[in-house]
Amino acid sequence: MVRKILKSMLGDNLTENNEKLAMVNFGIILIMFVVSAVMLFFLPEQIPILHNGATNYPVPSVLGVWLFPLIALIINMTFIKQGRLSKMNSAIFGILLIVMLMFYFSVM
């Protein structure tokens, strides 16, 4: 499936290297989805997703928990579309996963 997406987006520019990097990115995003789904059982009913100074804007966990994985998915699609897959960008997805985990533990 990943290869098909990459083939349709990158066409002749698909190489073994960017295929591997896309796999890594999709793998991290999948982990983010799974972790978010699992964390739903431990998170409070509402989690803050926005804050303006000292004011927080909480939303139900069922709604807010998917924000991080979906943002990561959009970013990954954009990277693939623009042919910008690199080790640095994969590292950013890793950092995003860590940030997400830290956020979940801080609101628990």
Binding site: G11, N13, N52, A54, V59, W66, L70, M77, Q82, N89
Partner: protein, 472 residues
């Protein structure tokens, strides 16, 4: 047939899974937006339909301004299909329909989410969505019509500049209009109630439909009589310089020329990227100012220095110095100095970045009463940090150039930009912390200027003496 033609004309295709992903993401974002509005803003949900229409029209118009003139008139692939028995109307409709479908998706996401959120208002949401999409289509057709008129009736030697002026002028006009309209709406919510009374889609639907069909007829006539001639005029503009007699000139500084040509021939790099940078700085500044209490950063010029250093850090010219330069593949075996190339790349990055710094500095002088000495120190700090950031951006791109397959250079070098931004902000925060806690007994601004002089000197020394670093 339209789909195949579109693939030929734009070399673009997306798989079903990608479209499904976009739909899921769009649906989620739309629902979240409606949820936040209904939960945290006291006005009834129906009041925000007007605001959503406004945002959707704004977003779709910007996309149309960027895409339609490029895809319709300056697209070189159209030439390849002109020899086949394909009507001009089919070529234009393949492009316009595709854009309209994407815009329909955006409208559907915005209003469909409201349908999910409050099903009892589904009929109103549907009507508002359709009206909004029709308005967007009217905008698309108007843009296409203006593009055809420019391509057909402006002199061949002026054609390209006409398109650039039209695209950038209308882009800026739309952005300024939107900002001027949205700010009062968000600050005074009673305006929304007044607008809800005035704006009733069912009242204006007939007029909108009439305008839609009239514009469609006008566009049909324009395509039939002017499009192909106009398209060929634009193509002639692009290739017209081949036959031009070039006066013999002596190139005084080839290093400067290489970088100058790289920057000036890429309109996206200079214009859209600077717009994007300014927007980034505005958002970043708002976030920083709103959270100052939490960061506990205090000082006399803290509010000026952080946005100024952010302006310096997001320098597209320097952060794309190598990854956006196709000539870099020849540097390895040509008898040219890598250090000199690097120097002139950073100098040009500095000059382009300095315009933003100067604008920001003038703004500070005009809107804040600052003593002359401090104003001069602030400018010196901005200029020095601008060179320091330009050097850092260029160096990162020299050591790790991005090997992008895409020709779109607008977003190149973002990783480098982020690193430079983090480093420069960390440096400024450190300066603020040291002076605030009185670890250093000098006031903030002179200390920041001294630090930035040191940073620039280290960078220049590295450039002068670090032969190994540049493989010279």
């Amino acid at each position: 047939m339209n789909r195949t033609l579109y693939k030929i004309l734009l070399r673009s295709k997306n798989s079903t899974i990608v479209w499904i992903s976009y739909v899921i993401v769009g649906g989620y974002m739309g629902y979240l937006l409606w949820y936040l509005w209904s939960r945290y803003i006291s006005e009834p949900v129906s009041s925000y339909r007007m605001l959503v229409s406004f945002l959707v029209i704004w977003l779709c118009t910007i996309a149309a301004i960027y895409q339609i003139p490029d895809q319709l008139c300056t697209n070189r692939y159209i030439k390849n299909v002109l020899c086949y028995p394909i009507s001009h109307k089919i070529i234009v409709s393949a492009i316009l329909v595709r854009i309209a479908v994407i815009q329909f998706g955006i409208c559907f996401m915005a209003f469909g989410s409201q349908f999910l959120f409050s099903p009892q208002q589904g009929k109103d949401a549907l009507l508002a969505g359709i009206t909004c999409w029709l308005l967007v289509c009217i905008g698309d057709m108007a843009i296409a019509l203006i593009s055809i008129i420019i391509s057909r009736f402006s002199p061949v030697s002026f054609e390209g500049y006409g398109f650039i002026s039209f695209q950038y002028g209308s882009f800026l006009a739309v952005v300024i209009l939107a900002v001027r309209a949205i700010v009062p709406i968000l600050s005074q919510t009673d305006i929304l109630l007044q607008m809800r009374e005035i704006w009733r889609p069912e009242k204006y639907l007939f007029s909108i439909l009439l305008s839609f069909f009239m514009l469609m007829i006008c566009l049909g006539i324009a395509i039939k009589y002017w499009y192909i001639r106009g398209y060929l005029n634009v193509q002639n503009f692009q290739y017209g310089s081949v036959g031009k007699e070039i006066k013999p000139t002596r190139i005084k500084n080839p290093y400067w020329l290489i970088e100058w040509k790289r920057v000036t021939r890429n309109k996206e790099l200079v214009f859209f990227s600077n717009i994007k940078n300014l927007l980034t700085i505005v958002v970043l500044s708002i976030l920083l100012f709103q959270n100052f209490g939490q960061f506990r950063l205090e000082g006399v010029y803290v509010m000026e220095m952080l946005p100024l250093v952010s302006c310096c850090a997001v320098n597209t010219i320097s952060s794309t110095a190598y990854s956006g330069d196709m000539n870099r593949f020849y540097y390895a075996f040509l008898p040219i100095s890598e250090r000199k190339i690097f120097l002139w790349k950073t100098v040009q990055g500095f000059f382009f970045g300095e315009s933003t710094v100067l604008l920001f500095w003038i703004g500070i002088i005009l809107f804040r009463s600052i003593p002359v000495v401090d104003a001069c120190l602030l400018l010196a700090y901005g200029s020095l940090m601008n060179y320091a950031c330009s050097w850092m951006g260029g160096f990162l791109d020299y050591k790790a150039p991005r090997m992008a397959n895409s020709t779109n250079e607008l977003l190149h070098g973002n990783t480098g930009k982020i690193i430079v931004l983090l480093v420069s902000i960390a440096l400024t925060v450190m300066e603020i912390y040291l002076t605030d806690k009185q670890i250093i007994s000098v006031s903030l601004l002179p200390f920041a200027v001294i630090t930035s002089i040191c940073v620039v000197m280290i960078e220049v020394s590295c450039c002068m003496f670090g032969k190994e670093v540049f493989h010279d």
